[in-house]
């Protein structure tokens, strides 16, 4: 374990010990903390870099059935006893007891970091994306590297830390169709598919030039849609967030009776894999200390499981292992890690031929999400209107939406061109052919 991880664990242990010595019945420390760097380049030549240490560490203390939390963004600059005292002195609120335990002995993930590129290397890489584009083209790109440690210490003697790393390179271009984006993501600088992204950007530049800003906006209609891999990843991430234990509590309880039944077409297999090699969110244990394990949510259309924390697993009979800590909440909620829609055997060209008449999405304009009130999945794409399998007119800012359960039944096929999303945190998907969606 390197120095940074050891110091985080040491800080956590000291804070927990101080909290217990100060009268707490129990305490825990959780944090994600480490270096981050971000560089932005515009086609005009403007370059901006930002780098430093990011993240925070929290200590939560329990006393007499009540709890309070103190957070710091600089554990190495804090006296752990003063830090614990801040939490002890808060007005506490009723809270269930701590549910965090770590496997013994000390568990760590991979500690080796990839070599971070320096600023000039990053700028050179980003400039290579613009090959062929004029200096006046409204293009920009950004490279973000994050390398945090996650630390978890409980008052039962458990403590652990693991390293993670993400490199995201994305580009945007503005034109008659609005703000269009594309990108690549990997766990190391060397694994970024820069060539693939560069090729797609050249296609996008040609696409933007072909757009007619005076073209009429399409009236709402229903059409067959070919979602691009990024659109499929947005759907995968949205579904992973949707099928969670806390959502059972807030309206999805009837779905408990659907476990083991057909919920989607045969083409749909949805998996969350926190151990995935090269996954941006891979980890040895979740944010409650439960060892990470793969969860198949939907298999060949059959609904298999929800993602659970320990609490919701106990409440609803599931298996824990998907706990995630959101900044504002002390109690973890379930969230997907490396969630993906399984690819299929067909090429994207095969799916395009099957599209016949409809909309071929080639890129993303807007993130996808499932509205919790209406149950509708919505995203916005750019691409081509297709007739008889041939592209006839480009279009951008096309909204596609569908009730999520109808959408799952109407997925006809997944292609083989799966990619890790640069935008939908850890999700991946191939192109997805959907029989019918609302398009406007």
């Amino acid at each position: 374990m390197d120095v940074t991880a050891e110091r985080l664990v040491e800080f956590g242990r000291n804070a927990v010990d101080a909290a217990i010595a100060g009268g707490a019945d129990a305490a825990e420390v959780f944090g994600r903390y480490g270096d981050a760097a971000r560089s932005t380049l515009r086609r005009s030549g403007e370059v901006a870099h930002r780098e430093g240490t990011e993240g925070s560490v929290a200590v939560r203390v329990w006393r007499g059935g009540r709890a309070g939390t103190a957070t710091t963004n600089a554990p190495f600059a804090e006296d752990p006893r003063r830090f614990a005292r801040r939490a002890l002195d808060l007005p506490h609120v009723p809270a269930p007891p701590a549910d965090t335990t770590l496997p013994e002995p000390l568990v760590t993930g991979a500690s080796a970091r990839s070599r971070p590129p320096d600023r000039d290397e990053v700028v050179a890489l980003m400039e290579s994306l613009f090959g062929g584009a004029a200096s006046t083209d409204p293009l920009g790109c950004q490279y973000t590297r994050r390398a945090p440690w996650t630390v978890l210490v409980d008052s039962e003697g458990g403590a652990g830390a693991y390293a993670s790393e993400s490199h995201v390179l994305w580009a945007w271009f503005d034109g008659p169709g609005g703000h269009m984006v594309d990108g690549a993501a990997a766990t190391s600088h060397d694994d970024l598919d820069v060539e693939g992204l560069s090729g797609r950007i050249r296609e996008r530049v040609d696409f933007v030039r072909s757009l007619d800003s005076g073209a009429p906006t399409a009236s709402p209609t229903e059409a067959r849609v070919l979602l691009p891999p990024e659109g499929g990843a947005q759907l995968a991430r949205s579904l992973g967030t949707f099928f969670t234990g806390q959502n059972i509590e807030s309206g999805l309880k009837p779905l408990l009776d659907r476990v083991g039944t057909k919920l989607a077409s045969d083409a749909v297999t949805l998996v969350d894999d926190p151990r995935r090699r090269g996954g941006l969110n891979s980890r040895p244990w979740d944010d409650e200390g439960t060892p990470a394990a793969t969860t198949t949510l939907i298999e060949n259309g059959v609904f298999q499981a929800f993602l659970h924390t320990r609490r919701t697993a106990a409440a609803f009979g599931g298996v824990p292992g998907a706990a995630a800590r959101a900044e504002a909440w002390d109690r973890p909620v379930a969230a997907p890690t490396n969630v993906y829609l399984a690819p299929g055997p067909h090429s994207r060209s095969d799916l395009l031929r099957n599209l016949r008449d409809g909309f071929e999405g080639t890129g993303l304009v807007q993130r996808g999400r499932i509205d919790s009130g209406t149950g509708k999945f919505t995203t916005a794409l750019y691409g081509w209107w297709v007739r008889n399998g041939e592209r006839v007119r480009p279009a951008a800012g096309v909204n596609v939406s569908s009730d999520v359960f109808r959408l799952l039944r109407r997925i006809r096929a997944a292609a083989s061109d799966d990619r890790t999303s640069y935008l939908a945190d850890g999700a991946s998907s191939a192109s997805i052919l959907v029989d019918r969606m609302e398009v406007s």
Partner: protein, 454 residues
């Protein structure tokens, strides 16, 4: 927090080759109460550090550290060289930083936050004993010090408090929610006039009424935006376009249009960090420029953009106090603060009476905007049907789609009832999120917007 002379010395050391260098030191304490269903949480967050930025003609570098000490400041200056990596050595002394934070922390903030939360929850349950409550109360104290290589240092203390209460009611399998937002300078301020309890009551009563909500109509319809919160719409669709770095792009909606008519007569849009008077944002922006009121659009004519130092220099004008940053980790950008439409002459009831079939929007819950073009889709979280000049049935939800320029040209009535949503809107720009802003407006009618249920 740091000695003035030290701050200036480090800035000057970083300003080589004609570049400008600025240092931003921050110490922020945030007291938060969060409640969701049966979950309750009280948190005290300390955040702070030093950001050091160097701005040349085409290249900017911003480095940051949580180490608020002389050693931390000097290390940042060394990190501003190109080709080097940021040193990640642990900082030396903890005492300077801890002392800075201790002095930023108002001793009773957490107690007041919890008191506000408990009283709001009781009020919601007085209306509907079985209602679910999602609640967030926060009180923030932010101390900043800003220095630049041009030789000036300013300090400021900024405060804000915020309440968000969402009541969730149920009838059979039907769930409906309604939310109220409230902002003030301090947690105490949220309780003036029992405003916090009134917000809880209103959220619960509205959620109950929304159990009878119907599907929104689809099509091009007149839309009446109520006073206060719906101003978030104008924030999204034209506010960002008036930030000078966005307006600098050729092809952006307001590029090169100073002096042109961009909106209907009678519409005046202002951004003023000192408003509303009982809950101002700041005295100095995050580059140390004094806050000032900026009239962006006057009687329909574009008058000004919101500037930081860099964009102002680019247009050979003076910065006007709109440089803001989410934290010391970020460089400043031209950002909104308190953006509002000034009062018009029309009676708000008369505005609604003039609509035969349309939508009334009481609250906006967010959306997606293309900043350059101003094209957006936004979710109206509390829409109502207007029939025969009367606000009638609540609607389940509605999505509105249009561009900012279209809205500004199709506003046909402006009311005389300006209200503010103080410190209640979280603004996103590039990767700097969330930045707290205020929005305000009177009742406004838009002749036609594309609406569909959502």
């Amino acid at each position: 927090m740091l000695e003035r002379d030290l701050m200036l010395e480090v800035c000057r050391a970083g300003a080589t080759d004609g570049a400008r260098c600025d240092m931003f030191v921050e110490a922020t304490s945030t007291s938060i109460y969060a409640g969701r269903g049966d979950d309750r949480s009280v948190r005290l967050l300390f955040d702070g550090g030093i950001g050091l930025g160097r701005t040349g003609d085409t290249r900017t570098v911003h480095v940051h550290t949580p180490d608020v000490s002389e050693a931390g400041a000097r290390r940042l200056a060394g990190a501003l060289g190109y080709g080097g990596s940021f040193p990640s050595r642990p900082p030396a002394a903890a005492d300077a930083r801890t002392e800075a934070f201790a002095s930023a922390f108002p001793p009773r903030a957490c107690d007041d936050v919890v008191r506000v939360a408990r009283e709001v929850e009781r009020e919601v349950h007085a209306v509907d004993a079985t209602a679910g409550v999602n609640l967030r109360v926060a009180a923030v104290v932010r101390k900043i010090a800003v220095a630049s290589s041009e030789g000036d240092v300013v300090e400021d203390v900024q405060q804000r408090a915020f309440l968000s209460v969402e009541a969730i009611t149920r009838r059979g399998n039907r769930l409906r929610a309604a939310r109220r937002l409230l902002g003030a300078l301090t947690a105490d301020g949220l309780m003036i006039g029992a405003a916090h309890r009134l917000a809880g009551r209103a959220a619960a009563e509205t959620a109950l009424a929304r159990l009878d909500a119907i599907e929104a109509p689809t099509g091009e319809l007149p839309v009446v935006l109520g006073p206060g919160g719906p101003a978030a719409l104008l924030h999204e669709v034209c506010g960002h376009g008036l930030e000078a770095d966005v307006a600098a792009h050729p092809g952006s909606a307001y590029h090169g249009r100073i002096g042109e008519r961009v909106a209907v007569e009678g519409l005046t849009l202002v951004d003023d960090p000192t408003k509303p008077e009982d809950a101002p944002h700041y005295r100095y922006d995050d580059e140390g420029i004094p806050a000032s009121s900026t009239t962006l659009i006057e009687d329909g004519v574009l008058r000004s953009y919101m500037h930081d130092r860099r964009s102002a220099a680019g247009l050979a004008t003076r910065p006007n106090g709109h440089a803001r940053r989410v934290s010391y980790r970020f460089p400043a950008l031209p950002r909104m603060s308190s953006t509002f439409v000034t009062a018009g002459a029309d009676d708000p009831d008369e505005i609604v009476r003039g609509v035969g079939h349309g939508i009334y929007v009481r609250a906006i819950s967010g959306g997606d905007t293309d900043m350059d073009s101003g094209r957006f889709t936004v979710r109206a979280s509390e829409p109502y049907l207007i029939e025969g000049g009367r606000i009638t049935a609540p609607l389940r939800g509605a999505i509105l789609a249009v561009t900012g320029s279209q809205i500004l040209r199709t506003i046909d009535r402006i009311g005389n009832d300006v209200e503010f949503y103080n410190h209640s809107y979280a603004c996103n720009k590039l990767d700097q999120f969330p930045l707290t802003v205020s929005v305000g407006q009177p009742t406004i009618r838009i002749a036609a917007l594309h609406v569909w249920g959502g």
